[in-house]
């Protein structure tokens, strides 16, 4: 089964890097969508079916924390797994985010294998 992925990061370059890492990792990806902040992500979710969200934390307009809160408040989106890909590594902050329902956390810099392993854990599916 191929999974539709939404990548949310204010850096267009970083979105390309994450997409490349996803491709290299062997993750079974279907459609790919991108957004530059949380608000744009919600717009994408209104019109597209998404199985997995990969998001940064620090973004303008609507940051990753607010996006996660909005997703969890909405019955339509609350079951979509969210993976954080961020430079932050504070355990205190991460505990707060896991309490909100974040499934996995990847700190930049990362290898494609780290991404694959995190997604494997979430989707419970072995990858090539």
């Amino acid at each position: 089964m191929a999974y539709n992925v939404l990548i949310v990061d204010d850096s267009q370059t970083m979105r390309k890097v994450i997409l490349k890492a996803l491709t290299i990792s062997g993750f079974d990806m279907g459609a790919y969508f991108e957004a530059g902040n949380g608000e744009e992500a919600l717009t994408v979710l209104n019109s597209q079916w998404v199985d997995l969200i990969l998001t940064d934390l620090n973004m303008p307009v609507m940051n990753g924390l607010e996006l996660i809160q909005r997703l969890k408040e909405n019955p339509t989106y609350q079951a979509i797994p969210v993976v954080l890909i961020t430079t932050e590594g504070s355990e205190t902050r991460l505990q707060e985010l896991f309490a909100l329902g974040v499934k996995e956390y990847i700190q930049k810099p990362f290898h494609p294998e780290m991404l694959r392993d995190a997604l494997t854990r979430i989707m419970e599916k072995p990858y090539v």
């Binding site: 850096s11 370059t13 390309k16 890097v17 430079t87 932050e88 590594g89 355990e91 902050r93 990362f110």
Partner: protein, 163 residues
């Protein structure tokens, strides 16, 4: 005085260049007893054009982190980062430099204190002549010089006195 910051900055920078850019840096080490780095180290850039990327941070300590990259090195870093074999645009190069300073800053604080929460601001990256880059306000408590492929990369940390 800033030995912990210096060690974390060196470790974060080396790791990020290697992991995300496949580029190995060598630290130009300082004389024994000068563990805090050299605040007054001259920014002698080997390239005519330079990227100056600055990111503010706040938390237990407030301040700014600054990164100086030769433009031609930045171009090859952006190609490595994106996996492109052809040309990269100037916008992509500037975006890469912002992401690089963001990653170094975030990792530095993770290494310093796993439990403290630091808020990173938005990085600002400018393309400048090396003369313009040196004339900007570059106050720093720590200045680190790295070498790669015969080119210099500088990293500065300035901690606000009140923090």
């Amino acid at each position: 005085m800033y030995d912990d910051f210096r060690k974390a900055a060196v470790s974060a920078t080396l790791n990020i260049f290697e992991t995300m850019f496949f580029t190995f840096l060598e630290l130009n080490d300082f004389p024994e007893g000068d563990a805090s780095g050299q605040p007054g180290l001259t920014l002698e850039m080997s390239s005519a054009m330079v990227l100056r990327s600055e990111i503010p941070f706040s938390g237990n300590r407030n301040g700014v982190l600054r990164l100086f990259l030769p433009y031609d090195l930045s171009e090859s870093l952006a190609m490595n980062f994106l996996g492109f074999e052809d040309e990269v645009t100037e916008a992509q190069i500037l975006d890469m430099a912002s992401e690089l300073s963001n990653m170094i800053c975030g990792n530095l604080f993770s290494l310093l204190d796993k439990t403290a929460v630091f808020i990173l601001g938005s990085p600002l990256t400018e393309k400048l002549t090396s003369q313009e880059a040196m004339e900007r306000p570059n106050e720093a408590d720590i200045t680190l010089n790295f070498q790669t492929e015969g080119q210099s990369v500088f990293l500065q940390l300035h901690l606000h006195p009140s923090s």
